[in-house]
């Protein structure tokens, strides 16, 4: 990271830094004000508008992205800290599933995105990209055996509705589409488990 600001001059003048971030698989180099959040850098500078600005204070989850493979809130992340980071938004989930020629047909949707559509897990849709990315991160955490506040004992938890609701509690839905969101996350988890089982059988 190259300093473009004047050391010690931060009191009154904007301080700029250059960063390189991989966003949805594409390296993006940009000069940013140190005050800029990752959310604003994505939306306002890079035109990546799937992460939404709901509350901008870490209370709603609409801005959720993956950074380094983990779900985080882009509204509480300074872009300057993301130099060299790998960021994936809801748009990038689709690209990940794209065919080698880069075409994004409907069948290329991520299993979580497909489950949200199948289960009608949205109403207005504003929180949906954040919900979807959060669900991808939550399912990865579940696969790693991470417990939640409702997990009992030390054994591997079952992904029942209470577990999904707790793990997704950082994503608010003003339309209250929660009932179908929980179903969608369970369906996506089942699809992923079935996929793994099939792969194991083929490999075995």
């Amino acid at each position: 990271m190259r300093s473009m600001g004047v050391a010690g001059a931060g009191k009154s003048r904007a301080v700029k830094r250059e960063i390189t971030v991989r966003v949805d698989g594409i390296p993006r180099r940009l000069s940013i004000d140190t005050r800029m959040t990752l959310l604003d850098a994505l939306r306002e500078r890079l035109g990546v508008t799937s992460p939404k600005k709901g509350c901008d204070h870490g209370q709603c989850g609409a801005c959720t992205v993956l950074s380094g493979g983990r779900r985080v809130l882009s509204c509480l992340t300074l872009a300057v800290t993301q130099d060299g980071a790998e960021v994936v938004t809801a748009e990038g989930l689709t690209a990940e599933a794209a065919t080698p020629d880069g075409r994004h047909a409907g069948r290329d949707l991520h299993p979580v995105q497909r489950a949200f559509i199948d289960c009608d897990a949205l109403q207005c849709g504003y929180c949906t990209p954040g919900q979807v990315v959060s669900a991808v991160g939550a399912l990865d955490e579940f696969e790693k055996g991470w417990p939640s506040a409702v997990t009992k004992g030390l054994g591997a938890p079952r992904l029942d509705r209470a577990e999904v609701a707790e793990r997704m509690s950082g994503n608010l839905c003003r339309c209250a589409a929660y009932v179908n969101i929980v179903t969608a996350v369970q369906q996506a988890a089942g699809a992923a488990a079935a996929q793994r089982t099939a792969e194991t059988e083929v490999a075995g």
Binding site: M1, G5, A7, G8, A9, G10, K11, S12, R13, A14, V15, R17, D33, T34, R35, T37, D56, H57, G58, G61, T64, R70, R71, V72, L73, L76, T77, L78, V80, T81, S134, G137, A138, E141, K144, G145, W146, P147, S148, A149, T151, L154, A165, E166, R167, M168, S169, G170, N171
Partner: protein, 334 residues
């Protein structure tokens, strides 16, 4: 937001030297609280020093069941650590009861205890607040007090500390390892946070430029039977109205030893020594649990408020302590 310079030095010692030498500089860890404060204007640093990648990010075994938790370990990883879950369940449960999955992935062990109160007046720069601007007054008087303190408050501030993790650490004899401009020191966790007194702007005993590098947990067999119980206005993703961290050693229906700390009721995580004293040697019964709560809450001073005040926290905490201890004793039956 006021402009600020940003630096990310090569190591923690350099970061400490930079911040220690600049009164307008602050450390940035996971950013979950500081970045919000930058937006709100609660803090206006001239220099932000990123330390997220500079601090140890491992949980190290010190032998005999003791752990050293690097300050760079995030809250999710610590909660999921098998040793923490088995040896110190109260800590794992406290972490998981706080914030959301996204925030726990961002939040660091070193930063979590240093998060600041969520008092709405502290966070609203248009209102007087002795914590944000010493001497300006306290807007809670005659205001909203539902989320404020009943123990250890002063006329200058009745804010509460918001961390759940810190309540568990206060019950667990934890020690904070701190690196400062003058070298290293170790602070018993129960002494890290201050009561407001006449200087509510100071949350902790840390000096400017001091950085938590690790949290040490000594081996404690009692902690294997421990739990965290949090009561809040919604089932998840909310701060505590009251919370209880407790560990119990019970034999033949008698409490041999106990560790108890309360959250949501004071400017600091509240180690309930008087409750522990009342529990030692007492029969494991609801009557004992209530008596222990009453011993600790004898000096409780609820605040009146536009929202009906916070006197409800006294019976709520009494019941929450009793429920927590009852469940811990009941673990025998599992």
């Amino acid at each position: 937001m006021k402009p600020f310079d940003y630096r990310s030095p090569a190591d923690a010692a350099t970061a400490v030297r930079i911040v220690g030498g600049d009164p307008g500089a602050v450390f940035l860890g996971g950013g979950t609280n500081l970045v919000d404060h930058l937006k709100l204007g609660v803090v206006e640093p001239g220099l932000v020093v990123g330390v997220a990648g500079l601090l140890p990010a491992e949980v190290e075994e010190l032998g005999g069941g003791a752990l050293r938790i690097g300050a760079g370990v995030n809250n999710s990883e610590l909660a999921a650590d098998p040793r923490v879950r088995e040896w110190f369940p109260v800590l794992s449960q406290a972490l998981l009861s706080g914030a959301s999955g996204q925030l726990r992935n961002m939040a660091s062990v070193g930063g979590n205890p240093l998060q600041r109160t969520r008092c709405v007046y502290f966070q609203d720069v248009t209102t007087p607040c002795n914590k944000r601007k010493p001497g300006s007054g306290c807007s809670v008087v005659g205001g909203w007090t539902r989320h404020h303190a009943i123990l250890g408050a002063s006329e200058h501030c009745i804010a509460v500390h918001p961390s759940d993790m810190a309540v568990a650490l206060a019950a667990l004899e934890a020690r904070a390892r701190v690196l400062g401009p003058d070298g290293e020191r170790t602070i018993p966790f129960v002494d890290l946070h201050r009561l407001p007194g006449d200087a509510p702007d100071r949350d902790t005993v840390l000096e400017h430029g001091e950085l938590i590098t690790a949290i040490d947990l000594p081996a404690q067999p009692i902690a294997r039977r421990s739990a965290y119980r949090k009561v809040r206005d919604r089932a998840s993703y909310a701060f505590a109205l009251v919370s209880v961290a407790a560990a119990l050693d019970v034999a033949d229906g008698v409490i041999v030893d106990a560790r108890v700390a309360f959250g949501g009721v004071a400017h600091a995580p509240w180690r309930a020594y008087r409750a522990e004293e009342a529990l030692r040697g007492a029969p494991a019964s609801d009557r004992s649990y209530r008596a222990a709560a009453d011993a600790e809450l004898a000096d409780a001073r609820p605040a009146e408020g536009l929202d009906g005040g916070n006197a409800f926290k006294i019976p709520l905490l009494r019941r929450t302590l009793a429920a927590t201890l009852r469940d811990l004793v009941g673990e025998d039956a599992r």
